[in-house]
């Protein structure tokens, strides 16, 4: 008898068919963007691709993605020419094109699935299926790829294959695969520091006797491999490099995306809004709030009214600053575990402090994290909270009423299943003892963490149901978005140091100064934000920093007692 748990392949088939049923769901203008790219690469010669500007949906991904679109266009041509590939200023939609593009997402996701199975292939079928499901059935990816419309699935597939190659000590292959990922979509640059440090530490330094010596040959080998990938990708566009660069890095866009990503800047902007009200009520300048500020939800240069303005340089410095601790750890001890932790944390810092971050970038954290989500109970807890909140923060992306049930049901399914299986995968010693008597498993979240997660329910009810009724004429239309972002950023910001704690557990001697540094940094950021926010944050921060030690000491106590 086969069931849902009968194997990863059944899981893939089930997920794929479910996604087919989702075809007529709402799709964003990203669908139009990709259709336009299909048209551009199909109708124009290569050298005109990055100059075409009939519509606002110009080609702004690196060359490999353009080639990918060209391939898709060729396949579309083969299927009988029903796919609409005309360059057009306005949105064009017909069922064939929609189905073709939606289907292409599902088919290319097979690579992501394959990559996910690689990691767990030596486990038994049941555990393999559960772990692959945690990676592959990411609700966030479903929202972004299969509803909103993008091709992140297969890109994460290449990224995961690259991580896997690194773990298997096939560094050149891993490096090449990462370079390929970069040449598909440059957002993965955020994770380049971790790659750089790991390659340097684990590959370029060779152990000779007791000493590590630097191997220039290896560095050159790696350099050549990466450069070769870049030449293969950008080579055909050699004469148009400046044009491509201006498309790839448009620094004219504002600090926050049209929707606030739930990151540090959401809190910052929120503090600014609060400050405006305080200044106004104190009899200050009445025109203060009229600047084109972030809460208006416009794409463009943002201007803060009270707090100091933020430039790309500030965000870069902050991002790098917060990447440093994990990179330092990785450098000191370049283990496989430290590598993936560092990847997650690099993604995390960029998400929190980066310039013009989109809420979709949360996947950059969640997907690599999902591989090691069940390493320890604390990992599982953080992953669980982060995924639930991160997925919830994607809700505004899919804003049509017709998709509201889909969003809610998918997130609930994930919340129930992930809670159950993460708890099973990370048994604590106390639970092992009780296993015979009790059948229910829990993840052991703290009261505050639970309250925070349950808080999403009233937030959803207000943002999606009550707000349109209360403000029926469209006033304050961005208030729900702001609320969601502020609420979600609240968990993201203080939770960041937590995975480092787990490295700390395994590598207790080296971590001490770093933990303190991070705590100091966290305290510093708290001072900057408004007092309302910080009170919540302090509580959460304390739980994240104190709890692991308690858990671990408990675990040690029990293992000592019973061995």
């Amino acid at each position: 008898m086969a069931s849902l748990t009968s194997g990863p392949l059944a899981l893939f088939a089930f997920a794929a068919v479910l996604k087919v049923v989702l075809f007529p769901s709402y799709h964003s203008t990203d669908f139009e963007v990709h259709r336009n790219w299909l048209a551009i690469t199909h109708t124009l010669p290569l050298h005109k691709w990055y100059y075409e500007a009939t519509s606002e949906w110009t080609l702004d991904y690196p060359p490999l993605f353009a080639l990918f679109e060209r391939t898709l266009a060729a396949i579309a041509e083969l299927t009988g020419g029903h796919v609409d590939m005309t360059i057009s200023q306005h949105a064009r939609l017909d069922t064939h094109t929609l189905f073709f593009q939606r289907a292409s997402v599902i088919v290319t996701e097979a690579l992501f699935f394959y990559a996910a199975t690689r990691f767990f292939k030596h486990m038994n079928t049941r555990e393999q299926t559960i772990r692959v499901a945690l990676v592959f059935c990411s609700p966030g990816l479903l929202f972004v790829d299969n509803i909103h419309f993008q091709y992140n699935g297969f890109l994460y597939g290449i990224l995961l294959l690259s991580i896997y190659a690194m773990w298997e000590n096939q560094f050149l292959l891993g490096g090449a695969l990462f370079a390929i990922t970069l040449n598909f979509k440059h957002i993965y640059l955020y994770q380049a520091p971790a790659y750089f440090v790991y390659i340097l530490g684990a590959y370029c330094f060779v152990k000779v006797g007791d000493k590590y010596t630097f191997s220039l040959v290896r560095l050159i080998q790696m350099g050549l491999t990466v450069v070769a990938v870049f030449i293969a990708s950008f080579g055909p566009f050699f004469q148009h490099l400046p044009q491509i660069m201006s498309r790839l890095f448009p620094f004219k866009r504002g600090l926050c995306h049209a929707y606030w990503a739930p990151n540090f800047w959401a809190l910052y902007s929120f503090a600014d809004r609060v400050a405006i009200q305080i200044v106004k009520s104190a009899g200050g300048d009445d025109t203060l709030g009229d600047v084109k500020s972030l809460t208006r939800g416009l794409v463009g240069n943002s201007v803060f009214a009270v707090l100091p303005d933020v430039t790309p340089l500030h965000t870069l410095v902050l991002t790098v600053l917060f990447q440093l601790p994990s990179l330092y750890l990785l450098w000191k001890k370049p283990t496989k575990a430290a590598f993936i932790d560092s990847l997650v944390l690099c993604g995390f810092s960029s998400f929190l402090f980066g310039w013009h971050v989109h809420e979709k970038a949360i996947l950059l954290i969640l997907i690599p994290f999902s591989i090691v989500a069940a390493r320890t109970r604390r990992h599982a807890q953080i992953f669980y909270i982060l995924s639930c909140v991160g997925t919830f923060s994607l809700f505004p992306l899919i804003f049509k009423a017709t998709e509201a049930p889909t969003k809610v049901i998918v997130l609930l399914m994930f919340a129930i299943l992930a809670h159950h299986y993460l708890a099973i995968l990370t048994p604590t010693n106390t639970e092992n003892l009780k296993k015979s008597s009790t059948t229910t498993v829990t993840l052991g979240l703290s009261i505050i963490e639970k309250m925070y997660l349950y808080g999403l329910i009233p937030l959803f009810v207000y943002a999606e149901m009550l707000h349109p009724v209360v403000f029926s004429r469209g006033q304050l239309e961005f208030l729900p978005l702001m609320m969601i972002s502020v609420y979600c950023s609240n968990i993201n910001t203080p939770n960041m140091p937590a995975p480092v704690e787990n490295i700390a557990y395994m590598d207790a001697v080296e971590i001490k100064p770093t933990t303190q540094q991070l705590k100091a940094a966290a305290a510093a950021t708290m001072k900057e934000t408004s007092s309302v926010e910080s009170s919540k944050k302090i509580t959460t921060t304390t739980t994240t920093t104190v709890k692991p030690q308690i858990l671990d000491s408990q675990a040690n106590y029990f293992s000592n007692k019973f061995i």
Partner: protein
């Protein structure tokens, strides 16, 4: 290997789950997730097209249902079964009308233009569509999904956990019902759900309450009459059984209780029309339109199949055709129903893990006989035998491959209809989901059953059905110009063949292969 293990612990954590999950009772996790998957599929299906979208002036079943909201809300009861009958006049029994009235009130409160008399005809407002979809899902949830859940819990004692989980999910996402109710658009789930509540009550020996539920099913859709003969024989068997064991008085008392609850329920449902003899007559006349002909369209039943050889419509008058079909139907129903009657005379003393097996088999055989041989059959009516077949799957593994083939073929038989509604893609998708979860493994991977030859035949059948579906979807013109609806005819013939064989198989199983599973899992042959 030792080294590998060490890295695993560092990277993934060392859980080392056992291959099989621990055996525990029906967990809340699996129930919740099954319900969520069922709701998700219903909702995503709702995003697709529906019957009669963009096809004025008559539109389709969606408009019919909406129209009934309109007439029940806006007109006095007297006019419900009389108003402009040419435009989707109400032709379902009163409970459907009350259901429409309730929904109509809500619709009126949200947006009066959805149910404005006459002015709302053909309204294709996106929000109206969403509202109607919600009503179908809520109706399904309250009446049918709840019954399914109770039924599956009731007979989950003898199974392992992974089986229970699959079977509950399977019963909740049976593709035929989903596609018709939440794609094409109807409220069949209400009628089927009431019938399932009847089955649950019978298993718990709540005969009066059960009869009320069956009356509600009848009051919602007259198609529940397909079940009527087995139900009648079952209840009669119960009464006679009581009489045999505890004396005639007790038997008569039991009969009176059942009779009174039936009469009361029916009386309350029809009370608004009791004013005049003529009113009741009008309702009855609307519900049973004999004048329409032997069969509609191309249906996978006996009359349509033999019409290729013998033109019955030419040879006989409508009246004699009615008589012939009634005779044939009765002949086909009676064996299983009478068997059911006798089985109730001496019920087993021990508690059974699958107490509803005989009843479900008889309901299935009775309704399938009606589908195959009765007058005026619609292809959607296959949903009626499909319900007990699905529940038999959910109850025991004994009829696994039969049920899988039945469900798959039933969806296939409705494919031409669903394709017209723009539902070709989800039809194939949902059929695949069902078969990935349950169908393919139960036919091709289970040990011993069915025989190799049967497996090969089923494989061939699936290949043939896939080819037909593919041709119908992508090869637009019929290869034979003289026969424009060749695909539909072939579809009906293939489906009839499968249904006919399954009818024989299910009858054989009911009459000769009765093996009740005793609580605790041990099988015991009674015959």
């Amino acid at each position: 290997m030792g080294k590998k293990k060490h890295t695993d612990k560092d990277l993934f954590g060392a859980s080392a789950l056992p291959e099989q999950p621990a055996s525990t009772p029906f967990t809340s996790v699996s129930v919740r997730v099954s319900l969520l998957v069922a709701l998700l599929l219903r909702w995503t299906l709702s995003l697709w097209g529906y019957s009669g979208l963009d096809s004025p002036p008559m539109y389709g079943d969606f408009e019919a249902q909406r129209h009934w909201l309109e007439i029940t809300t806006q007109l006095p009861t007297k006019l419900w079964y009389r108003y402009d009958l040419q435009y989707w006049g109400l032709d379902y029994p009163p409970l459907t009308a009350y259901h429409s009235l309730l929904l109509g009130y809500i619709a009126n409160a949200i947006n009066p233009s959805w149910v404005a008399l006459d002015a709302s005809r053909g309204n294709e407002d996106k929000n109206l569509k969403m509202f109607m979809r919600y009503t179908a899902i809520v109706t399904d949830l309250i009446i049918n999904m709840s019954a399914t859940l109770v039924f599956c819990k009731m007979c989950s004692k003898s199974k392992t956990r992974s089986e229970q989980n699959t079977l509950l999910l399977l019963a909740l996402i049976q593709p035929g019902l989903l596609l018709i109710d939440h794609g094409h658009f109807q409220y069949n789930s209400a009628m089927l759900g009431f019938t399932l509540w009847f089955v649950v009550c019978m298993a718990k020996k709540q005969y009066a309450l059960g009869s009320v539920f069956f009356c509600l099913a009848l009051g919602f859709k007259q198609m529940a009459l397909y079940y009527a003969l087995p139900v009648f024989f079952y209840l009669l068997g119960v009464c006679v059984g009581v009489a045999k064991r505890s004396g005639a008085i007790s038997g008569l008392k039991q009969l009176a209780i059942i009779g009174i609850s039936v009469l009361l329920t029916m009386g309350i449902m029809f009370s608004p029309f009791m004013g005049s003899f003529e009113d009741v007559g009008q309702v009855i006349h609307r519900i049973f339109p004999v004048g329409r002909g032997l069969y509609e369209d191309k249906v996978a039943n006996f009359w349509c199949a033999i019409s290729i050889i013998i033109k019955m419509k030419v040879l006989f008058t409508t009246e004699s055709l009615v008589r012939i079909s009634i005779g044939a139907t009765l002949l086909a129903v009676l064996p299983s129903s009478i068997h059911l009657f006798y089985s109730q005379l001496s019920p087993p003393k021990i508690a059974l893990a699958n107490p509803s097996r005989k009843l479900l088999l008889a309901l299935l055989n009775g309704s399938l006989a009606f589908f195959l041989f009765s007058f005026q059959v619609h292809e959607k009516s296959i949903l009626i035998p499909l319900m007990p077949a699905t529940m038999l799957l959910a109850q025991s593994d004994g009829l696994a491959w039969e049920g899988s083939v039945f469900i798959t073929t039933a969806v296939f038989s409705m494919f031409p209809l669903l394709r017209r509604d723009g539902l070709a893609v989800p039809t194939v998708a949902l059929t695949l989901i069902f078969n990935i979860l349950y169908g393919f493994p139960s036919v091709f991977e289970s040990e011993g059953k069915p025989f190799l030859l049967v497996r090969a035949a089923i494989g061939g059948l699936y290949a043939l059905m896939s080819t037909l579906v593919f041709c119908e979807s992508f090869v637009n013109e019929s290869p034979v110009p003289k026969l424009p609806d060749l695909y539909t005819v072939v579809n009906a013939l293939v489906s009839f063949g499968v249904f006919g064989l399954l009818f024989l198989r299910y009858n054989y199983v009911q009459l000769f292969m009765d093996d009740p599973v005793v609580v605790g899992g041990a099988k015991k042959k009674t015959k």
